[in-house]
């Protein structure tokens, strides 16, 4: 073959490959779309069938009640007769509404006009003299479908995993995923003090952008947050230690659990910067999801500037003894550097991650299993006496980064940690962090939209700031880092058919041109302008 033919063959192969990949993506997406549509249709058909059953039932009961009413009138009992007549009317109305729904609303929903159908239904209810549904019944939340209930937390609140409907998703700008609804209801036994505390926590969580939605009424209030389907760090770490045996975790697992603790400390740094104190750091309050640890349970979150007296709430072995001491002294939150109490908890969690058990003796707890000296050092430093521990989460974070950066914490000595003034890489790291600080939004942002990262996530990501192009047409990019990403990222991550179809069309076009050139080269066709 001649040079031009080779070129044509190579270009043709590339174009075919790209077209095939794009075709695969398109079919895959179409498959997902079809499955969603089928699911939607099936759901709507079930509702249609329910409407029809309700219609038939309503008509039957309405008709049966008519002779009952007549009979009562005959035996001179006008009041019960009227009641039966009213009931008959109500049943007939239900039957008519069901018929209306089956004949009009459901077909609209099948056609994908659900929002319009809901609007019509609401207007119809108003037209029929009914009040539109403004307050949900217990364990029902307008705009959400409850999927299951979780075990109650320490605050006594009810926790529901729910799926927002399309309208709510658009309102919340929450395109995918599930939510968790934390509901406090006096009728469910919630105490006023708990409500008050949670109200404070809600304010704090809103400040951090963690709350997607909230609503309060006379007897109940609830708030909505993103739901992370995962297991808690406690279970995760225990299972790793069970698998590893008495020898302790191997290097890969150590880096992984270290990175998870780092996620917690990074979150604490942002919370503390926002003037908030979590107050209940423990493995069970971190959810491991796609290789990242997310801090949950806002039940005890308190503003660092609060003038309230310290309380001893918290969890045994993860609660700083100094907190108890200060609480007994009657100190106010604003009088102490309460953020450091969280650091104790973070140190205890790191100890737990390395040992698989909690630090029964606080900072004096020994390490029985084999683990890197630098990680042991960090755990102890965080749990040290109040005045001797890390000044803030940033300092602890810098040490953790140094320990995890090289993927081999055993090779890092305590002397190499930045808090010890060690490590030649400190300057480089500072540059990297400065770059991150410059490119990432400064204000605390919610962790709700953190992009899934490869495991172990953080140490590697911090080696060099990684840039991810978000729009190839405009050249827009964002820096992928361990820092919480802005909420807008989730929208940009939405997947559609557009790009895949465009790539496929372009590839097919390129293929067409190549074939045409080949045909021209073979003398089968002429150039259009020749």
């Amino acid at each position: 073959m001649q040079g031009l033919e080779w070129l044509i063959a190579v270009v043709a192969m590339i174009a075919v490959s790209v077209a095939l990949v794009a075709l695969g993506i398109v079919f895959g997406r179409l498959g997902i779309l079809t499955a969603s549509l089928v699911k939607h249709w099936a759901k709507t058909l079930v509702l249609l069938f329910t409407d029809l059953v309700r219609f038939v039932g309503g008509i039957v009961v309405g008709v049966v009640l008519l002779p009952v009413s007549l009979g009562r009138l005959v035996i001179m009992r006008p009041k019960p007769a009227l009641e039966a007549l009213k009931s008959s009317g109500r049943e007939t109305l239900i039957a008519l509404k069901s018929l209306c729904s089956a004949a009009f609303l459901r077909p609209m929903q099948i056609l994908g006009l659900g929002a319009l159908a809901t609007h019509v239904a609401t207007r119809l209810r108003i037209a029929l003299g009914e009040q539109p549904e403004t307050r949900a019944t217990p364990a029902e939340f307008v705009g959400y479908t409850i999927l299951r209930e979780l075990a109650r937390g320490g605050s006594g609140a009810r926790l529901f995993v729910a799926e927002p409907d399309n309208k709510t998703r658009r309102r919340l700008k929450f395109p995918s995923g599930f939510v968790v609804i934390k509901s406090f209801d006096f009728d469910d036994g919630t105490q006023a003090a708990e409500m008050l505390r949670e109200g404070r926590a809600l304010d704090a969580a809103r400040k951090l952008g963690l709350v997607l939605d909230h609503e309060a009424s006379e007897r109940r209030f609830h708030y909505v947050m993103r739901y992370y389907e995962g297991i808690d760090l406690g279970r995760f770490v225990r299972s790793m230690h069970e698998a590893a045996g008495d020898e302790g975790l191997d290097r890969e697992r150590l880096v992984l659990v270290g990175s998870l603790v780092r996620d917690i400390v990074a979150t604490l740094r942002d919370w503390h910067d926002a003037g908030l104190w979590h107050k209940d750091i423990k493995p069970e309050n971190a959810i491991v999801h796609e290789g990242r640890a997310t801090l949950v349970d806002l039940g005890l979150v308190t503003p660092l500037a609060s003038h309230m007296t310290l309380t001893t709430h918290g969890t045994e072995y993860f609660r700083d003894p100094e907190l108890v001491r200060q609480a007994l002294r009657g100190a106010r939150v604003s009088e102490v550097d309460a953020a450091r109490f969280d650091l104790y908890g973070a140190g205890a969690v790191l100890y737990f991650a390395l040992e698989g058990t909690f630090p029964a003796h606080g900072v004096l707890s020994s390490f029985k299993k084999k683990s890197p000296a630098c990680l042991q050092w960090i755990a102890r430093r965080a749990m040290a006496d109040f005045d001797r521990r890390y000044r803030d989460a940033e300092e602890m974070l810098a040490d953790l980064d140094r320990a995890l950066l090289g993927w081999d914490p055993a090779a890092v000595r305590p002397a190499d940690l930045p808090s010890m003034g060690g490590g030649g890489e400190t300057e480089t790291q500072t540059e990297e962090q400065a770059f991150l600080a410059k490119t990432m939004p400064k204000e605390p942002t919610p962790r709700t939209d953190v992009a899934p990262a490869l495991r172990p996530p953080d140490g590697r990501l911090l080696e060099r700031p990684r840039v991810e192009v978000t729009d190839w047409w405009t050249g827009a990019y964002s820096v992928v880092s361990v820092r919480p990403l802005p909420p807008s990222l989730a929208d940009s991550q939405r997947r559609g058919l557009g790009v895949a179809v465009a790539v496929m069309v372009a590839a097919l076009g390129a293929l067409g041109i190549v074939i045409y050139i080949w045909l021209w080269n073979e003398g089968i066709v002429d150039l259009p302008w020749s």
Binding site: L300, R325, L328, R329, L364, W377, A384, A415
Partner: protein, 265 residues
């Protein structure tokens, strides 16, 4: 080589703080001996006492201690450990009476804390393990106190030397300092430990026999023996508490789902 100084003024001062309901003093007492009381009650309960009951009884012991502190006379020659044990036993006995009364259909018998059990007549006989635990609790309190007072790096150097049996050179390498510096760090911490140990022993000892316990345990000897003895007590105390915790976790597991985690308080 060092000796434990006698500091009778310390114990009376601490008693005074307890009597004046100084929260800090009570917290110190609880921090040091709470685990001992809980462990002892658990051993006496022989698995029959649930986690909640144990916690309640431990707190009841503290309350009883608080009630009787005004009447306690350290001059009677009762060991601190015996006094503490007597109160815990009294609380447990009261709980048993209450349970029997409930079985019989009666109400709770009113608890009476007379001074009788401070005398020799009804003194419960503490076993060796209990005495070891109390002694270890005092040493542990001293270690805690030293840790608070010492520079973090100094204390860690000492810990590596005593608990992890690391050589000075190895510690120096880890901390980025020379071997003589490590030795100086360790010496500082050791001196602080001796002082704190003397305070802790005096604070919670009311008989000469109790005061001489550290000497018998090797804590009054030369530096090497002191380190060995301290390391041994430190490790033993950790093991005792680890055993208690394992037993508690086992009890929680037996109690069924939801009992495995540590509850928020």
């Amino acid at each position: 080589m060092g000796t434990i100084p006698t500091m009778h003024q310390v114990d009376t001062a601490f008693l005074r703080r307890l009597r004046s309901r100084d929260e800090q003093a009570w917290f110190e007492l609880w921090e040091a001996f709470g685990p001992v009381v809980r462990g002892t009650l658990a051993r006496w309960g022989n698995g029959r006492l649930g986690e909640e009951t144990l916690r309640d009884l431990t707190q009841d012991t503290l309350v009883a201690l608080s009630d009787s502190i005004d009447r306690f006379d350290p001059q009677r020659g009762v060991r601190f450990s015996t006094w503490l044990l007597a109160i815990a036993k009294h609380v447990l006995g009261d709980e048993m009476d209450r349970r029997y009364a409930q079985k019989r259909g009666g109400g709770k018998r009113g608890a009476s804390l007379d001074d009788e059990w401070m005398g020799e007549a009804r003194v419960p006989q503490p076993d060796d393990e209990y005495e070891r635990r109390v002694m270890a609790a005092k040493v542990h309190a001293a270690i805690r106190s030293t840790q608070k007072r010492s520079e973090f790096v100094h204390f860690e150097a000492y810990r590596m030397r005593v608990l992890e049996s690391k050589q000075g050179r190895e510690i120096g390498e880890l901390l980025g300092v020379s071997e003589p510096t490590v030795t100086r760090h360790c010496q500082r911490v050791r001196e602080a430990l001796r002082t704190e140990l003397a305070v802790a022993i005096e604070q919670w000892s009311y008989t000469d026999d109790e005061r001489s316990e550290p000497g018998r345990a090797g804590l009054a000897d030369d530096d090497a023996a002191f380190d060995d003895a301290l390391g041994e007590i430190w490790r033993a105390q950790e093991e005792l508490i680890a055993r208690d915790i394992a037993a508690r976790d086992e009890a929680r597991r037996r109690a069924g789902p939801g009992g495995g985690g540590r509850a928020r308080t």
